[in-house]
Assembly symmetry: C2
Homo-oligomer: 389 residues x 2
Amino acid sequence: MAIKWEIVCKQDRARAGRLLTARGIVETPAFMPVGTQATVKAMTPEELQEIGVGMLLSNTYHLYLRPGTEIISRAGGLHAFMHWTGPILTDSGGFQVFSLGPLRKVSEKGITFRSHLDGTTHFFSPEKAVEVQEALGSDIIMPLDHVVPYPASYAETKEAMERSVRWAIRSRERQRRIMEQALFGIVQGGVYGELREQCCRDMTAFDFPGYAIGGLSVGEPKEIMYNILEIVTPLLPEYKPRYLMGVGSADALLEGVLRGMDLFDCVLPTRIARNGRVMVRWGYLTLRNAKYAADLRPIDPHCRCYVCRHYSRAYIRHLLKAGEILGIRLTTYHNIYFLISFMAEIRHAIRERKLDTLVHAFRSQFGQEEEIDDNGDESGAELKCTAKD
Amino acid sequence: MAIKWEIVCKQDRARAGRLLTARGIVETPAFMPVGTQATVKAMTPEELQEIGVGMLLSNTYHLYLRPGTEIISRAGGLHAFMHWTGPILTDSGGFQVFSLGPLRKVSEKGITFRSHLDGTTHFFSPEKAVEVQEALGSDIIMPLDHVVPYPASYAETKEAMERSVRWAIRSRERQRRIMEQALFGIVQGGVYGELREQCCRDMTAFDFPGYAIGGLSVGEPKEIMYNILEIVTPLLPEYKPRYLMGVGSADALLEGVLRGMDLFDCVLPTRIARNGRVMVRWGYLTLRNAKYAADLRPIDPHCRCYVCRHYSRAYIRHLLKAGEILGIRLTTYHNIYFLISFMAEIRHAIRERKLDTLVHAFRSQFGQEEEIDDNGDESGAELKCTAKD
C-alpha cells in the first residue's frame, strides 16, 4: 500500500497517530499548509521543514492549468519541480472548478469548465483527475467530486453526493499507481446528516485507505460543521485516517481533533498573513493597525518562532505598510509555525492524556482579546508588494 | 576612529582591502545590497549572511519619512530594528530628495521638500541629515549633498558641487558620534573633469575617513563614468576607501575596481529580480520569457547558490508568471549571490595578481549571449505578487 496509518494513542475520540509514506512519516493530527501553485506562498521548502511541516497540499486544478502537467511530469513530478521532499496530498480540482470556474457544465461523465486564467475550455472527468494526479506524483490523491455551494437544497446536495460516490468508484477503477499513491474517499452530503450517513455507508464499502470530509468550512456556522463531524466520525472506520478539508483556524482544528479528525488543510494562515493578520493564542492581531506602530514587542512574547525571536510588531508593521515582501514572509512564517506547533501540542496532550487541560486552557484564552478595530481587513484585500527602491 | 581600512594587496590601481568596523570586517572591493526601507527587498538578514554580504546600505530619506527616526531610535537603532548585525552605510537622503521629492527648494541652509508618500513638507539641512543618521546608528554616514540631474550645465553643476563641499564641512562640524560613525566626503562635479578635480582638492583637505564618488551612474554613458574615475582616483588619498555610488552591474563593478574603487551599492540586482531578470556571467536572462517555460536547467549551471542548486528556470518562470512571492525571492537571492561572489572572485584575483586573466575572461564572455527578446522588461514594471490561493 502507498501509505500506512497507525494509532499511537487515543483519548476519547481524539487520536494521536503516525502516517507512514514513502516520503516520510507525518505525525497526526497534522495541519497541511497549502501550496496552491506548487509553492506555499512566500515560503521555501527549507523554511517549512524548519517549522516542522510534515505534509503539504497542492492543487490539481491550478497546476493542470498552469504550468501544465507535462512540464511537472518532465521535471520528475511535483516534488522535484518544487523542491519539496516530504509527502504531498493533491486535491482533485473539484472544489476549484466549482469555486473558480466562471462557466461549468456538470454531466455524469464529468465537468466542462472554463479556465479562470484565460477562459479556455477544459474537461475534467474522474478518470482525468486521477491521470493528472498520477502525472504530478503526489502521495495522497483525491477523487473528483461534485461540490455544491452553501446553502444548497436537499435534492441538489443528494444528487451531487451520489454522483461524487459514483465518481469516487470510477476514480478507483482508473487508478494505476496503487503502490505509490493513496486515493482517499470523500464524504459529501452538505449539512444534511442523513446524506452524510448515506455517503459514509456507500464510501466505506469500498475500503479506501483514508476518508476526507468535504463540503464543510464553506460558509456554514461552525456549530453545523461540528454537528456533521459528530454524525460522520462513528460511521468511519477507526483505523483509517480522517481528513477534514478546508479547516485551519486554531479553534476549529481543536474541535476537529476532539471529533476524531486527523488531517487538516487550509489557506487561512497564509492568506491572512498577506493581509497582515497573525495568529496568536488569544486570537488574531492585525499588524497594520496604527496601534502597533511603536510596539516593540514580538508578535507573541511566548512564541519561539524565528519571527518572534528577532522582529518587533513595529518593524513588521513598517514592512507591511511599506509594501515590503519581507513583511508577508514574516507573517506567513509565524502563522504556519503557530498552527504546526499548536498541532504538536495537541498530539503531545493526547499522548499524555491531558487533552482536557489543553482544551480548557485554549477555550478560556482564545478570542478573549480578539481585536475589534480591524475592519480594514474584512475586504480580504491583499497587500500589494509594490515597494520600489 | 569608527572605521579602519587597510590595503591587503594591490594590482595596478585595483586594491584588495579590509574595512574594519565595530560590527565586523568587510573585505573590499565590496558590493553593498540596498535595504532602502530597512529591508533588502524580499530577503532576510540570515540569507544575506549566508550569501556573504558584508555591509548593507540603507536610506536616510526613506527611513526618516517612514517609519520615522523615533521608533528606530527607540528600537535601539537601525541594526536592532531590522535584525542585521553587520555594518550599515546610510545615504544622506540628498539623492532621494532630488529624485523622488515632487517639490523641493534648495537654499544654502538646506532643502525643503515634499514627501513622496503623503505630500507633507520637510526640511533637511546638512546638520539634520547627520542628526538623523546618528539616531539610526549606521556605521558609515554620508553628508547631505546637492545632486544635479544628468545632463546639467557646467554652471549648475559647479554651484551644486561647491555647495556640497560647504555642506560636507558643516556635516563634519555637526557630527558628534565620531568614534562610532565614519562620515565620508562625497566628490561631486558631474561629468566635468575640472569640477571633479576641484572637488577632490577641496574635500581631501578635510581628511575624511573615506570618499564617495557621487553623481555618476545617473544616466550618462558608461565611458563618461569611467573617464571621470580616471580623473578622480589619482587625486584621492591612497589609504582611504573609495565608494562609487549607484553602481551594480558586473561590468561596471569590474571597471570601477580597475580604476581604484573599493565600495559599491546599487538597487540593480534586487530591482531587476522583481522584473524576473537574473544576472549570469554572460549577461542577463529574462525568466518570464516563454522560451524558459520548459527549461529544466538552473539559472546558471555553474552557479553554486541555493537557487541554482535546487530550482529550474521553468519552475522560477512558473512562479513569476503566477505572481508568487517565492519567484521574486529566488531571483533576488541569485542576483545578490551573483554580485557578492563576483566581488569575491575579483578580490581573490587581485591577491593572486591574476586580475588580467579575470578581466580577459569576463570581457570575452559578458554580453556575448545577451538576450534580445526581452522588450517586455523595458518599462521597468514590477511583477505584482497578487497570487491568491
